[in-house]
Each structure stands twice: as structure tokens, then as C-alpha cells.
């Protein structure tokens, strides 16, 4: 499993174009911005995003931004959450 924004293009907070995301075709999408109105449903309904594997296989997840966006001890909880999203079979 590889992060499609992993190299970040040299930026701390990379912004990808929609076409770059569709072309990279991620298997899993994790949202940390549900508080700002970007929901699993709204992502599914974006035009053109139905070509993405994560959308087709219902593998869009939402994570609490407080545990994943803040450098602190809770980041380990976020790591476990991500692992559950990405490798669900290892936790069954």
C-alpha cells in the first residue's frame, strides 16, 4: 500500500488536482475533514469519482482529525485506525 500524495511534490500540505487523484486510482480514501462538510457521501457523489476503486468498493473512511492531525501520544491510536482501514482482514 502506497500513499498517492506520499512525495508531496515538495510541499508540507500538498493539494492534488481531481484528475491526479482519479488517475492515481486509490484503493482506500481516508477523510479527516468531515467537520468541514466533506463526508463519505459527498465524496462518492463527486462527478467522475465513480471511476476510483475506493469509491466502487466502498472503501472511504472517516477519521477523527484530532487524533491524526495533531502531533501527540494519540497519534498511535490514529495509526491503529489507519491499519484497520487499510488491512481490515488482519483485524478480523
Amino acid at each position: 500500500m502506497r500513499n498517492i500524495a506520499g512525495d508531496g511534490g515538495g510541499q508540507a500540505y500538498p493539494q492534488l488536482t481531481q484528475e491526479a487523484i482519479i488517475s492515481a486510482n486509490p484503493d482506500v480514501i481516508v477523510l479527516a475533514d468531515e467537520e468541514f462538510g466533506v463526508t463519505i457521501e459527498s465524496v462518492k457523489q463527486r462527478p467522475g469519482w465513480d471511476a476510483i476503486a475506493a469509491v466502487q468498493n466502498d472503501r472511504i473512511y472517516s477519521i477523527d482529525p484530532d487524533i491524526i492531525s495533531r502531533p501527540g501520544p494519540r497519534i498511535v491510536d490514529a495509526l491503529e485506525q489507519l491499519a484497520r482501514f487499510i488491512y481490515p482482514d488482519r483485524f478480523s
Binding site: T17, Q18, E19, A20, I22, G37, S42, P47, G48
Partner: protein, 363 residues
Amino acid sequence: MQIALGPAAAHDDAPALVTWRTQLPLLGAGLALVLAVALVAVSWGTVHISPVTTAGILLDHLPLIDTGAYSRSEDAIIWDIRAPRVVLAGLVGAALALSGAAYQAVFRNPLAEPYLLGVAAGASVGATLVLISPVAVTAWAVSPVPPAAFAGAVIAVALAYSLARVNGAVPAASLILAGVAISSVGTSVVTYLMLTFNTRTLAILNWVLGGFNTANWTDVAIATPYLVVAATVLLPHARVLNVMQLDEDQARQLGVHVERTRLIVLATASLATAAAVSVSGLIGFVGLVVPHAVRLLFGPDYRRLFPLSALGGAAFLIVADMAARSIDPAFEVPIGVITAIVGAPFFLLLLRRAGRPAFALAP
């Protein structure tokens, strides 16, 4: 002393005859240019898709044609992301430039532009009110921002028009001043709200700066009818507007119903602008400068100026949007920045080289 008599004498210095038929080749060339630019724009983007594949995907969406040979994500990128974006940029550019030409014709003023009567400020207030509301914009099935912006724009222009009305007549100067005053009020309200609701500042600023980042076919469907109506109403008015470039009193003596023409043309142009702004945000410069560029190149006759402004505006905004999304693949440059930085030097060059005054009133 010579008196020009007969057709031979009149022919020497008469301006070239402009009818719908004589300008068909020019309009055809303009239309071909817009289509060519649009095709290049659709095959242009951060993800490389060859022009051949692009053409195949576009043709495949026509009925009865099946070209096959492309992946599902290529289809999504071309048809769902890029095509609506390019079409919308073209529609908005055409609407803004055509409305700009109409505003300049009605006010007989080179500084007139489609935002003069408060369309931009009204639309910003409408959009901002939705963006600061406690219900998230994405919670709706269809975004409520375009309708709110449209309503704000129409209310602002209607307000300017009714405030400028004196004894049943609407003097042009009063109308401009009322529009400027309403624009100031709108801008202040937006600035205040932007600073008060500071968690939404970025969303508001993004909208105000304008662009086609989130363009989709719904936006195209919203904007198209208004542009079609604007073109159908404005183009036949070109002849009367030519006459109105004379003094208002002279136009009246020649049988032009000045008040009524002004109301119809302004209302139509404002509706088209409101629709354009509601789906794209505030994109400056196009409505002001494209008509002037066309005027410098092809003369001030509105029968030619209207259709060529629309085509020129479409081509210009499609190219500007191409630049906006490709200068830096990780960050989209606001399109208003492009239209001004690229457009202004080009326009100044035209202005210096044209060899005729930028705003001659009579054709």
C-alpha cells in the same frame, strides 16, 4: 467645393457595409477558433492523456458512435472533470464579454463593465450568506451557492435601478452612481462577514476570487439558458445601440425608444452576468477589456462587436483557465490573476498599435 452625389461618390469613404451576411466568414472563423482552443484545453492537464484518446472519448459521448479504447479513469477525467470545466469557462467568458459590450453601449462609456451596477457585490453577499450559514454547503444535494449568488446579484441590480429612477426616467449618471453605492455596501458587508466568521474566510475568499476548479455539468446547465437568452435578445438590439451611440436626444429624434432599450439591454446583460458569476465567482477584466480589444481590431459597430466579443471572451477565458490549472500542478492559480497579468499587457499592446482611438462612439 465638391458635393458627394450618386453611388460612386458615396462609395469612396462609406464604411464597409456590415450586415449579418457579410460577417458570416468572420463569425465562422471566430467560432472555429473557440472550438480549436476548447479541444486543446480538454486534452491539456496535469494527467497526460493523448489528443487522440481525448478525441475518442469526446466522440464516444455522441450518440451512435462507439470508439472504445480508453480506460474508465481517462473517461472520468476527460468527460466529468475537464470537459465541463472548459465548456463552463467558454460560457462564462462569452457571457461576461457580451454583457460588457452591452453595458459600454448603453452607457456610452469606455469604463462601463458588467459589474458596474452591483452584480458582483450582490452575488458576493448572496454567496457569503450561504457560506457562513450553520448548514454545510456539501450537505445539500445540489450546491445552494449558485442560486444564492444569482439572487443577490439580481436584487442588487434591481435596487440600483429603482433607486436611480426619477419621475419615471432613469438617467444614466444616476444609475451608475446608484450602482457604485450599492457595490460599496455589498463589498463592506462581505468584508465584515469574512472577518467575523473567520473559520469560513478561506471558503468565502475562494469563491470571491473565482475559478472553475469545481465545474460540473450542473453548472453548465445553470449558465447555458441565460447566455442563450442574452444572445437572442442582445444581438438584434445591436442596430439600435449603434444609433444610441449618437447623443441620447438625437437617438430619440431618430425614433429610438431610449429608456425602453436601455432597460431591456441592461436587464438582459445583468441576468447573463449574474448567471455567469453565480457559477464561477468574480472574474474581473474579461467584461471590461475583451470588448475593447475587439473594438480596436474590428471597429465599433455593435452588429460585429457583440458576436465577436462573445467568441473572444470564450476563447480568452478558456485559455486563461488552462494557464490557471497548469502553471503549478499542485496549486491552482486564481484565474482572475491570470486574466489580469496576461490580459493587460496584451491589451496595452493593442491599444498602442491600433492606430485608432480606443472608444470611438459612432461606427
